[in-house]
């Protein structure tokens, strides 16, 4: 049997339900962020170590680890997407933001390597970490603002700060990898972990 209720009750119910639909964090929502944080931090540390063993540019080949990283990340995202019991407009914004980030990263690599081959010039690679950190910061900041989760917003600022520091020490390329590692820990891993804790509380 259905209960008839007053207009006042209606408005209260509408407000209550709309609030319920907002800020819904799915269990394990921070897993992809933690995965990327760990993978990039590990690769950056490996690059830092290898840079002293092989002084040339060979150590940079470790970044090919990002290719399987994208595959794993895609599979994780697909699994998360399929098991999601609700999809909000915010989810779409966040998904689009990171898709735009991924496309930007591919174009960025294309541009940097094209310049290198065209002009036989490699000095612009010293800016690579700074540029990547600027893009990462922007994507993380937008994600944090969209889902109203402050640790992600602060994460965005950490990446931007890292970008500035890398630019200040532009010639010390191996140390860019150390800064990148620190940024990954405090910009990705810690906020991702906090998001998982918050999502667990919501379940």
């Amino acid at each position: 049997m259905e209960t008839k209720f007053t207009e006042q009750d209606s408005l209260q119910l509408i407000n209550q339900m709309i609030q319920q639909a907002q800020n819904n964090f799915q269990k394990g929502a921070g897993n992809i962020t933690i995965f990327w944080g760990c993978l990039v931090a590990f690769t950056a540390l490996l690059n830092f170590t290898l840079a002293f063993v092989f002084p040339g540019a060979q150590s940079c080949y470790v970044w090919f680890l990002m290719v399987p990283g994208w595959i794993v990340s895609y599979l994780m995202g697909r699994k998360e997407d399929r098991s999601a019991i609700v999809k909000t407009h915010i989810d779409r914004i966040i998904h689009s933001t990171w898709l735009a980030f991924g496309i930007s990263m591919v174009i960025l690599q294309f541009v940097f390597w094209s310049v290198a081959f065209y002009f036989d010039e490699y000095r612009h690679f010293t800016m690579m970490t700074s540029v990547i950190l600027i893009f990462t910061g922007a994507a993380q900041y937008i994600t944090g603002k969209a889902c109203r989760f402050r640790p992600y917003v602060y994460g965005g600022f950490i990446f931007w700060l890292g970008a500035v520091i890398c630019f200040i020490i532009l010639r010390e390329v191996p140390f860019h990898f150390l800064i990148l590692t620190v940024c990954m820990v405090f910009g990705y891993i810690v906020p991702g972990y906090k998001l998982n804790v918050k999502a667990k509380e919501h379940v």
């Binding site: 259905e2 209960t3 008839k4 209720f5 207009e7 009750d9 209606s10 408005l11 119910l13 509408i14 209550q16 339900m17 709309i18 319920q20 639909a21 907002q22 399929r82 098991s83 999601a84 019991i85 609700v86 999809k87 909000t88 407009h89 989810d91 779409r92």
Partner: protein
């Protein structure tokens, strides 16, 4: 003279479902059940009524071997919801005068 409220929406559970769906792109039956606190049987009946009125789309799929029911609000449903809210506002505006 008060405009009559849409009887299909002026029911606690159906309004709750519509209020949840208005804020999301799509929602699983499990989500709606969890948020409204309704029983599965009652929720199914009310979802069916909203579907018949073309206020929501219902998609039945499988996740592995588990059946899933995904609900989305339709443009007609959005319009009906907006009209419902506007009508309620006229009730309050008149009472406050």
């Amino acid at each position: 003279m008060f405009k009559e409220l849409d009887p299909l929406l002026h029911s606690q559970l159906r309004l709750a479902v519509m209020s949840l769906l208005i804020g999301v792109e799509e929602a699983d039956f499990v989500f709606l059940k969890e948020k409204t606190g309704a029983t599965a049987g009652n929720l199914s009946v009310q979802i069916e009524k909203l579907k018949e009125a073309e206020y929501i789309d219902v998609e039945k799929t499988f996740q592995g071997k588990m059946p899933r029911t995904i609900c989305r609000i339709t443009p007609k449903g959005v319009q009906a919801f907006e009209n419902y809210v506007k009508t309620i506002q006229t009730y309050f505006n008149t009472n406050n005068k």
